[in-house]
Symmetry: C2
Subunit: 371 residues, 2 copies
Amino acid sequence: MERSARRPRPVTATDVARRAGVSQSAVSRTFTPGASVAPKTRAAVLEAARALGYRPNLIARSLITRRSRIIGLAVGYLHNQFYPAVLETLSARLQALGYQLLLFTAPQAEHADPLLEDILRYQVDGLILASTTLSSRLAAECRAHGIPVILFNRTTDGRSTVESVTGDNRRGGRTIADFLVAGGHRRFAFMAGVENSSTSRDRERGFREGLAAHGFTGIERVVGQYDFDRAGAVAASLFGRARPPDALFCASDHMAIAAIDAARARGLRVPDDVSIVGFDDAIPARWAAYDLTTFAQPVEAMVEATVGLLQARLADPSLPLRRVVVPGALVVRGSARLPASGVAERGGRRVWIAAPDEARRAAPPRRARAG
Amino acid sequence: MERSARRPRPVTATDVARRAGVSQSAVSRTFTPGASVAPKTRAAVLEAARALGYRPNLIARSLITRRSRIIGLAVGYLHNQFYPAVLETLSARLQALGYQLLLFTAPQAEHADPLLEDILRYQVDGLILASTTLSSRLAAECRAHGIPVILFNRTTDGRSTVESVTGDNRRGGRTIADFLVAGGHRRFAFMAGVENSSTSRDRERGFREGLAAHGFTGIERVVGQYDFDRAGAVAASLFGRARPPDALFCASDHMAIAAIDAARARGLRVPDDVSIVGFDDAIPARWAAYDLTTFAQPVEAMVEATVGLLQARLADPSLPLRRVVVPGALVVRGSARLPASGVAERGGRRVWIAAPDEARRAAPPRRARAG
DNA sequence: TTGAAAGCGGTACCAA
DNA sequence: TTGGTACCGCTTTCAA
C-alpha cells in the first residue's frame, strides 16, 4: 500500500536494438564515443533511439565503468555570500567536463564524516569539501579507494592525505596589518570565525605577525563564528568598551558587514572613527552602503585550481598531494582609512601595494613556510 | 596495502558474504531495512562488513530498484541572495528523507532543456527547477516517465504538466501598491526582472492592479533583469529623469539594493525622497544599511511545500497537478515611507496589514482572472 | 564491423 | 530464515 505506483519502464538499449534490427551491443557502441560502428548501423540506431526517446542510463553505465562522473560537494555554510559564486562557477566548470555535483550540506564546525559515508555510497569519483573537513580516518579511506578529496577554503594541519585550495590567508592577514598600520591605526581588534577553522586561524596568524612586525601586540579578539548575528553582537561589545579599537579586521566579509552595522548603530562613523576590513571580497562587499575594504579571494582562480587538482588526480591517483594557495589582493574601498601611499589601480579596482622593502625590513624572511 | 596506483576494487557484498560465511543474499538482506535475517546472521554480516569497510553500492541498488534517490536540482541564478537559504533548507530536508540533490546550473532566461537531458540520464527520481523552466515537450516526457517536475519560484502559463511552488506574487504586488498609496506616494515605478519570468510578471501584475484600484496608471517601468549592475543602471536612469518616481517597487531584493545604492549616489534620501520596496526578504534585506521593506517569501514554507509535492507525487504519480502559492507578508522596514496606520507587529517583525474592506472597495471585482 | 555472452554489484523471488 | 538464481541496463571481451 505504501508501495509506490509503478513507473513506466524506461526505454532501454535493447528496445532500440530491436527496433533498429541490430544487436544491443551495436546500440551501446553507437553511444560510445570511440567505438567502431558502420555509418549505416549507426544511422539506424540513432533513428530508432530518436523515435523511442532513448536516453542511455548513466547509472547502469557507471556500474560497469566504475566511474559515476559525479563529484560530491559538501558545503559547510552557504550564508557566507562568498559561496553562491563558488557554487555557480564550480558547477559550470565541472559540467563542462562532463561531471555533475552531488550536493550535501554539512556541519561546518565538526567533521562531515557521517554525511560523507552517505556520499561514498553513491560511488562519487571525487569529493570537494567547502568550509568543512573530514576525519583523517575517512580521508585515508578515500585515499585507499582512490577517491580524490579536495578541501576548498580550508586546509588541514600538518601532513595529511587530502589536498586543499585556499586563498592566501596568512599573507592576507599580514597585508591587512601593514595596511592598517600604514593608515595610522593604533588599537587593533580581530574577529575570528569558528575556532577550529584553518582559514580563520591563518588569517589571524598573518594579522598578528604583521602587527608584531610593527611592534603591536595585545590585540583585542572576539569570535563571530562566521555568524551574522553573533558577529554583530560581539562587535557591539567591542565598540562599547572604554577604549574601543580604531581598526577591526574580521575573518569574513559577512562578519565585517555585521560589524559595520554594529558600529554605526553605536554612532561610530566608518571609517572616520573605526576602520573595518573584511576577507573574501564577497559580492556584497562592493555594495555602496558597505563599500568594504577586503582581501579578495579570487573565486575563479580557486575553482580553477580545485578542478585542476581533481582532474590531475582522477587521471593519476598516485600523484603527490598538493596544497594550492591562490594569491589574492587587498581591495581598497571605503570602510578603512587610507594610508598616504601604496594604493594603486590594478585591473579595474584599487588595491594596496605594500612597499616591498619596507615590508621586508619589517618582517625578516623566515623559513620557507611552515606547513 | 602496498601501493594503490590503480583504483582498487571496492569491497562488495560478495566479499562480505565470503568472510561472514553466508550467502551474498544474506548480506543484502542485512542492509535492507525490512528484511528477515536471523540476529546471528545479521551480526556476523555486520562484523564482516565493518572489518572490510563495506559500503553498499547505491548505484547498483538503484539499477534494480529503479529508484536512484537522487533529485535533480536546476538553479537559474544563485546571485539572488534568496537562494543560499533555499539550497540549504532544501538539501537538509531532502537529506533527512534519504534523498540527495544533483545540482545543475541552468540558464534562467531560456529553457533548461539541454541540461535536463543530462540530468535525466542520471535517472533522477524527481526534478526541481528553481527560477528556470523547461519546454512543455520535456515536461510531458518527464510526466510520461513518471518523474515529478516541480518549479520553484516560477510557474507556467495556463494548464501544464508541471507543478509549482511560488510565493504569492500577485497579492504581494497588490499589497505593495496598497502600502505605497497609503504612504502618500504619487509617482510609481516598477523594476522588472527578466521578461519571461512568471514571477516578475505576476508581481508586476499585482502591483498594477493594486495601483489601478486606487486610480493610478501610467507607471514608469524599467527592466533590471535580476542583475545587480543592470538594476543599478536602470535605477539611475529612472532617478535622473525630470520627474523621478517617489516610489519604486523592484521585483527582487537584490535589485532593490542596487536601486538604493543608485538613489543615494544621486543624492536622494531613502525613504525621504524616494521609497524603495523589494521582494523576497532575502538575507541582506535586514542589513541595517539597506533595511529593506519587502514582501517576504517564506523559504521554509516554500521548501516544505516543494518537498511535500515531491513526496506525494513520488508515492502516486497519478495525482492531479497542483500549484502551490505560499502566502507571504509585507515586512515593513525603513526603505519606504510609512503609512499612518496598518503597520503591526507579527511574529517578531513589523508587517503591513491592509484594511480588508477598504481594499475590497477600492478594487471592484473584475472578471475572474485575466488569462 | 558485428552479435553473443559474461559480467558490474546489487535486489527479489523462489524453493528448501 | 536461508541460499540459489534470474535479472536491472549497460560495457566489454571475443569469435565470427
